[in-house]
Amino acid sequence: MIFNYITEHVVIVLIAILVSILIGIVLGVIAYWVRLAEKLILWIVEILQTIPSLALLAMLMIVFGLGNVTLIVGLVLYALMPIVRNTHTGLTNVEPFIKDAARGMGMTKLQRLVKVELPLSFPLIFSGIKIALVNSLSVAVMGVLIGAGGLGFPIYRGIQTQSMQLILTGAIPVVLMALIFDFFMSKIERRLLKRA
């Protein structure tokens, strides 16, 4: 029974993170490329992050209704900030002489991005993804309040029935997963940073 909740929880979070990675990197690249958009994009993702997760989900519920989709949209918005910010910072911080060399070789803007700038920013982007993923695992618990599945459900039922056991059945896997993802992704992160 609990395994169904765990699976659902993980699937929701992973879908949200994948979508967030795609949108986040695109936004990070646009912020890096387009001067005019830079401030605006960074400002919006920052604002999104400061909205309390419950309030954000409630607002989305008005638009998207009840269910997993609403939770995923909320998680995506919430996860954007670290990914966009780290992508933008990573791209901006590639050594100027590397960019100069790439330009001097006759690479187009897109070739420079794909072959040089993104690969060199990858360690930082990966850290952003790690932060986003670990956060999302706990934020997703709120999903139960807007009719989504996952580990929020046993926790919520535990609160209603004042059953500590039920609360822990839901909470412990969330904490454990967060710790495990954090541990392994931090390891990878360190290796990436060392290579760069």
Partner: protein, 373 residues
């Protein structure tokens, strides 16, 4: 051929390039030199359009480069920078093959190029192609940097202080390699440096810049002989004095000479010569001015115990002033019957003596620096 026509560039109120006009011929090794901030890098980057001038035109083979697509233009111009700028996420092979791949060479062709080029600098393909830049020494990295610039056979290669960050020995080796490659592949190279040694070693033509202007454009020989500006002369420092031969007699004389007064007696003089291991003496008057010289042969044939040396001097030895030109002094030395030339100060006192030995030693020092002995 690269031709600059009234090229100007400013950043705000700062004028960086002031009306540059010059032509670089195919196959020439041209070195841009000048004090830091004089606009060398800016000039170089206008050639591959990393920087666009505000005014004037640049032609490559008589084609205005602003009429070309900058990306395609850059693929036909090699580019090497001081910070090397190899892409750390790519192997040596991938780095070298960047431009060939951009130009859509088939795989066999670009792999052939990589092998050939690595061979050219003595870095075998098998050992090196699959390494990452961080696994190479600084010198090896810049070798790859140079190869990357050469990979698509560009007729023109731009190099911005490419060896500035290397240790002197590695720098020397790479200078030789680049010069050899340039001669072999007949590239036109535009090379920026602030090191006059490097410029003199590498250049067919040196372009000396200062605050965005060209002070002189000439062959190394010509620039050494006729620097157009005191700043250029200063930059050439030690090289200048050799080339201009502004040597005087004083530069070639030895100052440890054996001087005796006119009243010294024969036996005393012979004893002195034996002690000092010299075969002539310079005889001076009481006021220290030069009187004449006496050789050991003369002393042996004419000297008698008790006879004063002043009575035996000859004026056979040529005499020059300390400030006399070294060349004249050299001629006098060659024809001197005594085998030496006496060098006098302005007040006619003895300054020194030039012998063939002292001359040779001084010339050696001028060429190779202070000698150990």
């Amino acid at each position: 051929m690269i031709r600059f026509e009234n090229v100007t560039k400013s950043y705000g109120k700062n004028v960086i390039l002031r009306n540059l006009n010059f032509t670089i011929n195919p196959g020439e090794f041209v070195v841009l030199i000048g004090p830091s901030g004089c606009g060398k890098t800016t000039t170089l980057k206008t050639i591959n359009r990393l920087i666009e001038p505000d005014g004037g035109k640049i032609f490559i083979d008589e084609k205005d480069i602003t009429k070309e697509n900058p990306v395609e233009l850059r693929r036909t111009i090699g580019y090497v920078i001081q910070q090397i700028g190899l892409f750390p996420n790519m192997t040596v092979e991938e780095n070298i093959a960047i431009v060939p791949k951009l130009l859509k060479y088939p795989k066999e062709k670009w792999q052939g190029v990589v092998k050939e080029l690595l061979e050219l600098v003595g870095m075998p393909y098998e050992q090196n192609a699959h390494k990452y830049p961080s696994e190479l020494s600084g010198g090896q990295q810049q070798r790859i940097g140079v190869l990357r610039a050469l990979a698509a056979s560009p007729p023109i290669v731009l190099m911005d202080e490419p060896f500035g960050a290397l240790d002197p020995i590695t720098r020397d080796t790479l200078q030789d390699e680049v010069r050899r490659i340039q001669k072999k592949l007949k590239k036109t190279i535009v090379f920026v440096t602030h090191d006059m040694d490097e410029a003199l070693k590498m250049a067919d033509v040196i372009v000396f810049m200062d605050s965005g202007k060209i002070l002189q454009m000439a062959s190394p020989e010509e620039m050494l002989r006729n620097p157009a500006d005191p700043l250029i002369a200063e930059f050439m420092g030690k090289h200048m004095s050799n080339a201009n031969m502004i040597f005087t007699a004083a530069d070639f004389m030895k100052t440890r000479v054996t001087k005796v007064s006119r009243t010294t007696l024969t036996l005393q003089s012979i004893e002195l010569m034996r002690n000092r291991e010299v075969n002539s003496l310079l005889v001076i008057n009481d006021d220290d001015t030069y009187f004449g010289s006496v050789s050991i042969e003369k002393l042996r044939s004419q000297g008698k115990p008790g006879k004063e040396i002043g009575d035996m001097v000859s004026d056979e030895a040529p005499v020059v002033n300390v400030k006399d030109d070294a060349r004249e002094t050299f001629d006098k030395l060659m024809t001197s019957p005594t085998g030496y030339v006496v060098v006098l100060n302005d007040d006619a006192t003895v300054a020194g003596l030039i012998t063939k030995t002292s001359m040779t030693k001084a010339m050696g020092e001028a060429l190779w620096g202070e000698m150990s002995s």
